[in-house]
């Protein structure tokens, strides 16, 4: 039964006694085979410190709740098996560059406002057919990558352009915009484009590629953003829709 040491960045800004950030260490025993960071956090919360706060939900890497900064990388706590980290010291802190609520919980309001801002829904002008809208497998393949986004916020937290709330819509929101602009069923004209084709949108992306490093689902937001940049030029200069 090996022991594993968890080093957690704790902070409760609402606490009157101790509102400052601090590091705390806990030792968790496990069977040497299977322990994810999320399970580790649960066992700390259950056994040592009931005041530990963190988001959790599906524990199968599809909901995007438990994105954290673990051993120097953006990871989903539920998806990170401790044996893959090759160390017995696990350092966990909340996602940096986002406003803190408590412990591992960060405020995602700005993230979702920006997500909403790019109009992330299918816009259609023609009447709906009686059955499905026909979409060839080739066209479907174009949205393969962006539809897998789980909105965990890793990319948004990692992007230097987005460090600062005012600056940038962020990779996730723009990837969403891409997901709809590239969808063959979408018929949006200028209304959505006006939201992303500006200097808070795609032109603030300096192709730093941190989002690609950070994404726990191995998506490539930059690819989507670059597609949007080209699409803007295509539409403005050549008047093409897609």
């Amino acid at each position: 039964m090996p022991d594993i040491k968890f080093r957690l960045k704790r902070q409760d800004p609402h606490s009157k006694k101790n509102p400052e950030a601090r590091w705390e260490e806990y030792t968790v025993t496990y069977d040497g085979e299977n322990l994810t960071v999320l399970e580790g956090l649960f066992s700390i919360q259950e056994k040592f410190d009931g005041s530990l706060s963190f988001r959790y939900c599906c524990r199968a890497s599809i909901c995007g709740s438990c994105a954290m900064y673990i051993n120097g990388a953006y990871r989903l706590a539920c998806q990170t098996n401790i044996k893959h980290l090759d160390t017995d010291l696990i350092t966990v802190s909340p996602m940096p560059h986002l406003p803190l609520v408590k412990d591992m919980v960060v405020d995602m309001d700005a993230f979702f406002s920006k997500y909403e801002y790019v109009m992330p829904w299918l816009i259609r002008n023609s009447p709906d057919p009686e059955k499905e809208i026909i979409q060839s497998p080739k066209d479907r393949k174009k949205i393969d990558m962006p539809v897998d986004c789980i909105l965990c916020g890793c990319c948004y937290s990692s992007c230097p352009s987005a460090w600062g709330e005012e600056n940038y819509l962020g990779p996730a929101a723009l990837l969403k915009a891409h997901r709809f602009e590239v969808d063959s069923r979408d018929e949006a004209g200028k209304e959505r484009m006006a939201r992303w084709s500006n200097e808070r949108g795609v032109y603030r992306c300096h192709t730093i590629m941190n989002c690609v490093e950070a994404c726990p689902k191995e998506l490539n937001p930059t690819e989507g953003i670059q597609w949007l940049k080209k699409a803007a030029v295509r539409r403005k200069l050549f008047g093409k829709a897609k």
Binding site: D12, H14, S15, E33, N34, T36, Q45, E46, K47, D49, G50, S51, L52, S53, F54, R55, Y56, C57, C58, R59, A60, S61, I62, C63, G64, S65, Q79, N81, V101, K102, D103, V105, D107, M108, F112, E116, M119, P120, W121, L122, R124, D128, E130, K131, E132, I133, I134, Q135, S136, P137, R140, I143, V147, D148, I150, L151, F180, D183, R185, D186
Partner: protein, 569 residues
């Protein structure tokens, strides 16, 4: 105090669909969700959603009647047939609607929605988007909710209902981000909180699937129906019980036992791996119990290798990711160790076909409700369908209910008192030193559920289980909080929800003891046949504040065009 005409509790598929429908009917509607709606457990659904579209080359003859029949037979005839027919009829329409809203379904060559074979279905009618159908559907609905500007209160843990003179008038919720309890008044409340999988230790469900909607309604006096029917999915990952979709078998995956045989040959020679889940899960468990697990151990293999890398990468990429991350196995190169795991809650809040419960103003939809379309055993691909079909119906029904309402002002005093009661309760919990360890008790309960109310049940085991649950319920009185802070108090939520989960566990336990037959997911070794004479009826469980367990009652099953017959696959 915040007021909305309709409050939807839960932001999963059924909650969102209900809210969208109500919003489209012009009603002021708000969603209260414990997590951001895009993070709901619906997103973890993988395989697909059933609808008789007839897009598959082998499925041109498929009709909604056949879909309804398969559902009824799969549910071992405990299905209310009018509801099943309604669901099958509505299915194509809601699927096309999802497509019009942008859901990225996978496509056939001709550009139509792709369908794959699924368990217990006579035709390939399961529409899918790779193996992330739930995720795609969920995000599509989230997008629509944003588009329609449905008011969404994120990270609100709903803790109790506000009931005034037998009418549901809102909920009390704990604001996880800002702290404190708030009363949300409403003229109609739609419960869409999902299943109670976490009462079992071997569950495929999300950590938040605690059945909170069920026990809130239960405590308010609404009966729970058919709680003893708990579905076990044949293939959960061996160590973590994470779901490996039925789609993997739908695409042609094999189940292999320790002798290297396809184990389903013995149990369902015709349908093989695509037999209904209860049968498949029991077959696997039988193999394991009789020492024919892999290496005599406690698991069997789900073998996908013969499908080839291309098909796996195209159709089952998520399965592959999960197997790699959580089991360290790449399905392209090696078989996946799987074991039957608790998966779905057939029972729930007793509702009619429109989601209305016995309490005026309270509606329910999705896994927390029991319309009784699944009967004793749900077919794969019907759960996503249920959420959307009955979410839609519940939303519309709530809007209709509002129209017929004469008194539209919820009682402020009752709401205020309810919020106060909740605050008081938490204060009391916080004041207790906690002679009992809530988490140890929780672990004890989940393990007891697994051991005593699993795939195979018999009288002595179950009675011992009920005894254990009663003792746990007694000890629950001794638990306290470890932390009383106001913001994001995970400890408080997990403690409060645990109290309710014990009551749910008891409805399962007592219902199972009472039902002296084997039907669908409820399989008893001491009564191993179906008894249509005595037990073709729903179980209803009523909460009794002064007794430990529920009061059990029954309700007839609505029969219809499909004749009762023996289930053979």
């Amino acid at each position: 105090m915040i007021h909305h005409d309709v409050i939807v509790v839960g932001g999963g598929l059924s909650g969102l669909r209900a809210a969208i429908e109500a919003k489209r009917a012009g009603v002021d509607v708000a969603i209260l969700s414990q997590v951001h709606p895009g993070r709901s457990h619906s997103g973890a659904a993988q395989g697909g959603i059933n609808a008789a579209l007839g897009n598959h080359p082998d499925g041109h003859d498929d009709t909604w009647e056949k879909h309804a029949f398969d559902t009824t037979k799969g549910g071992d005839y405990l299905v209310d047939q009018d509801c099943a027919i309604q669901m099958a009829k509505d299915a194509p329409r809601v699927i096309y609607e999802m497509d019009h809203w942008g859901c990225p379904f996978s496509r056939f060559e001709d550009g139509r929605i792709a369908q794959r074979p699924f368990g217990g279905a006579g035709f390939p009618r399961c529409c899918y988007g790779a193996d992330k159908t739930g995720h795609y559907l969920l995000h599509t609905l989230v997008e629509q909710a944003y588009k329609l500007q449905v008011k969404i209160y994120v990270e609100q843990y709903v803790a109790r209902l506000i009931v005034h003179e037998g009418v549901c008038q809102g909920v009390v919720a704990y604001d996880m981000i800002h702290g404190g309890f708030e009363a949300f008044t409403a003229n109609a409340v739609i419960m869409a909180t999902g299943g109670a999988g976490r009462t079992y230790s071997n569950s495929t469900n999300a950590v938040i699937s605690t059945g909170s909607g069920m026990f809130m309604a239960y405590h308010a006096g609404v009966p729970l129906k058919d709680m003893e029917f708990v579905q076990f999915h044949p293939t959960g990952l061996f160590t973590t019980y994470i779901l490996m979709t039925e789609g993997a078998r739908g695409e042609g995956g094999y189940l292999i036992n320790g002798l290297g045989e396809r184990l389903m040959e013995k149990y369902a020679p015709k349908f093989m791996e695509l037999a209904p889940r209860d049968i498949t899960a029991r077959s696997i468990q039988t193999e394991i119990n009789e020492g024919r697990g892999i290496g005599g151990g406690g698991y069997v293999y789900l073998d996908l290798r013969h499908l080839g890398a291309e098909k796996i990468l195209e159709r089952l990429p998520g399965i592959r990711d999960l197997a790699i991350h959580f089991e360290g196995v790449d399905p392209i190169e090696a078989p996946i160790p799987v074991v039957p795991s608790q998966h779905y809650w057939m029972g729930g809040i007793d509702t009619n076909v429109d989601g209305a419960t016995s309490m005026p103003g309270l509606f329910a939809a999705g896994e927390c409700a029991c319309v009784s379309v699944h009967g004793a055993n749900r077919l794969g691909g019907n759960s996503l369908l249920e959420t959307i079909v009955f979410g839609r119906r519940a939303g519309a029904e709530a809007a209709r209910y509002l129209e017929g309402l004469t008194e539209k002002r919820p009682n402020a005093r009752t709401a205020f008192t309810a919020a106060q009661l909740m605050e008081q309760k938490v204060e009391e919990l916080g004041a207790k030193t906690g002679s009992q360890d809530a988490y140890a008790l929780r672990a004890e309960m989940t393990v007891a559920m697994r051991e005593h109310f699993g795939l195979f049940r018999d009288e002595p085991t179950m009675k011992a289980g009920v005894e254990k649950l009663l003792s746990i319920k007694e000890r629950v009185k001794g638990i306290g909080l470890r932390w009383t802070g106001s913001v994001f108090n995970v400890d408080m939520i997990r403690t409060v929800e645990f109290e309710g989960m014990v009551d749910l566990a008891l409805t399962v336990g007592m219902g199972a003891v009472a039902r002296q037959e084997s039907r669908g997911a409820h399989y008893r070794t001491d009564y191993n046949t179906r008894d249509d004479v005595n037990w073709l009826q729903h179980t209803l469980a009523y909460y009794q504040p002064d007794a430990a367990g529920p009061r059990l009652d029954s309700k007839p099953v609505t029969l219809g065009p499909f004749e009762l017959q023996e289930r053979k696959y």
